[in-house]
Symmetry: C2
């Protein structure tokens, strides 16, 4: 077998149940998905496209394996009979395993939400270190960046009504029944008033990135599927994130319209190969919830990381915890007469703030 390192942030909403359960179980689902791949991942040859009948995934017939090796021949099953056969990397198997682990986690929350009393949902950001590589999986609006030699390397992107607009509009167009006659799949820059019928208004649909004018029709008076801007953007006037775990019971206020069909539990997984670069003790992976990133940009975070790390000895194991603590404290701000204020006098984060600072090199490295 082999082991992996794992860190994860779960930022709950509408109750803590889903977040707590995911924090207790997601790594078990990842374990389960990876367990089937142990032999395949440890074998340097490309993963088999097809596994023998009735065999547990990953445990190919050892006799057949050694036959191939001993005689310099490939077993009949492995002869490429097909003109087109796509090569699949070990890395993409790990990505697939993590993707499916998120799906299984979401399914478990769905199954057990009534008996275990698991209200709400959560964004999930997980970092998995396995065989020399970091896999950063993000479903929601948390964010991960690597700071290496002062340089910022984004390791995730946020999934919100704005960034996923076209996916959501496309689904709404193809499955209009999910909108319950309350919403239109078109986006407008603001609500339309009934008296504006017949006027021309800016809109965009699932195919457009730009805007154009259209004559307002009856159907356009419905509420837009995606509405608002930045942190205020909402899907179906309800939720500001479009990926995550849970939310199976979430409905549009005072309606029977479910939100879940539009939410995706699948993460985007980005890979960082730790072996491709010599890392120093000041190189870190930072994971933070939106409470951090709403008031602190990547550059400011990198600044705090470098400032705090240099004030500790390179082999002091506390230094990374101190960075995380400092990032939280600075993003929260200080209570003044006019509310919580940052050092630059801007408003501090009123949201919950969780941060991991994970060293990539130095004494406690992964080799």
């Amino acid at each position: 077998g082999f082991y992996f390192h794992y860190w994860a942030l779960f930022d709950g909403h509408a109750g803590s149940g889903a977040a707590v359960m995911a924090s207790e179980r997601l790594h078990l689902h990842i374990c389960e998905q990876l367990r089937d791949l142990v032999e395949i991942l440890q074998d340097p040859s490309p993963p088999p496209i097809c596994l023998p009948h009735d065999t547990k995934t990953g445990s190919a017939d050892p006799n057949q394996m050694s036959y191939a090796e001993d005689h310099g021949e490939v077993p009949n099953e492995a002869v490429p009979r097909f003109h087109l056969e796509k090569a699949v990397s070990h890395e993409s198997l790990v990505i697939g395993a993590i993707e499916n682990a998120f799906k299984h986690m979401d399914d478990q929350i769905e199954r057990e939400r009534a008996s275990q009393h698991l209200p709400g949902g959560c964004c999930a950001l997980a970092a998995i270190y396995l065989m020399g590589k970091f896999y950063v999986a993000n479903a929601g609006d948390s964010r991960a960046i690597i700071i290496r030699n002062g340089e910022i390397i984004p390791m995730s992107r946020e999934f919100t009504p704005e960034t996923e607009r076209q996916r959501l509009q496309f689904l709404a167009l193809l499955r209009p029944e999910l909108l319950g006659k309350e919403f239109t799949h078109l986006e407008f820059p603001r609500r339309i008033q009934p008296k504006e019928l017949g006027k021309k208004m800016l809109y965009r649909d699932q195919n457009m990135n730009g805007w154009a004018y259209k004559k307002i029709e009856e159907d356009d008076l419905k509420f837009p599927l995606i509405f608002g801007e930045g942190k205020k953007a909402r899907m179906m006037a309800t939720i500001g994130v479009t990926r995550g775990l849970g939310d199976h019971d979430l409905k549009v206020f005072s309606s029977n319209i479910h939100i879940k069909p539009f939410l995706s539990c699948f993460p985007e997984v980005r890979v960082y190969d730790l072996t491709q670069y010599e890392h120093c003790p000041d190189d870190v992976l930072v994971l933070g919830t939106d409470g951090l990133w709403d008031v602190t940009n990547d550059k400011e975070v990198a600044g705090v990381v470098m400032e705090v790390l240099t004030s500790y000895e390179p082999n002091d194991p506390c230094r990374y915890t101190m960075v995380a603590q400092e990032l939280v404290v600075r993003s929260r701000g200080v209570l003044k007469e006019r509310g919580w204020r940052l050092a630059n006098d801007k408003l501090g984060s009123g949201d919950d703030i969780s941060v991991f600072v994970i060293p990539l090199g130095g004494p406690g490295n992964y080799t």
Copy 2:
């Protein structure tokens, strides 16, 4: 009014009709879309969200306009009544105009394909210079890059079964009737044989970027919607590009399954602001069909551009044409005993090759 500069490449397939018609008409559709925006684009204030009743788009009531200007007040219609109102830029109106022009072009081909005898379809790559900015619109597998001071700036991406896999799989999942019982929306690394039923095989679906094993079921024996790799990747075993104009009659071989629902006529539009940088006569925008890019990468193209340009006087208007010619000649290669060969002895392009080299600065610039 105002004028715009325009260049476009149309790479036809399955007949030249659609490509020829698009080359004769796309700019007229762009003209038509922009005409409605003339006044709005020339007015430095943000575009109006809503236009007055029964007015031609873009021609607001001049009395009302001057009233607002004269009295330092905004007319009643423009008072922001809404808490949330999204700002829309002039640039995004031009993008929307170009997107809709492609749609109107495609609709025209659909309408006139029978009477005008317009078989086939085409990829379309258009560059529009308007009010200080280049808008590069791409639908298909042509490519545009800017070479500025030796640096390469990508101005498009290719739309193929591989790059658009998830969009196509998502549509197939939601509209399985479009697959005509012949195809599965899942991707497999190769065809599955009936005798492999029950074995485990690698697959990925619309949510996945990685790969995982699944037990092969009856339905998986259908042909995969997306199949093959690189230049050999095909959608429904038929077509290697997933955006473009035309193809309204294209069907899967010896079947009644239409390809068109999966193709998008909408381009991705990228914007380059020419005013943000001082351009020299050696800075160019290169547009090329896949015949060029299949055998010549961005860096090699940049090398040829710089090599040829330095061999001509900076004010010689022929120099850009000579670059384009040289790029075509070098990608075609030279006929040797073992076929058409490039300078590096690799196989030359057997495809059609069209190239534009457009100067961004120097004597004949756009001011």
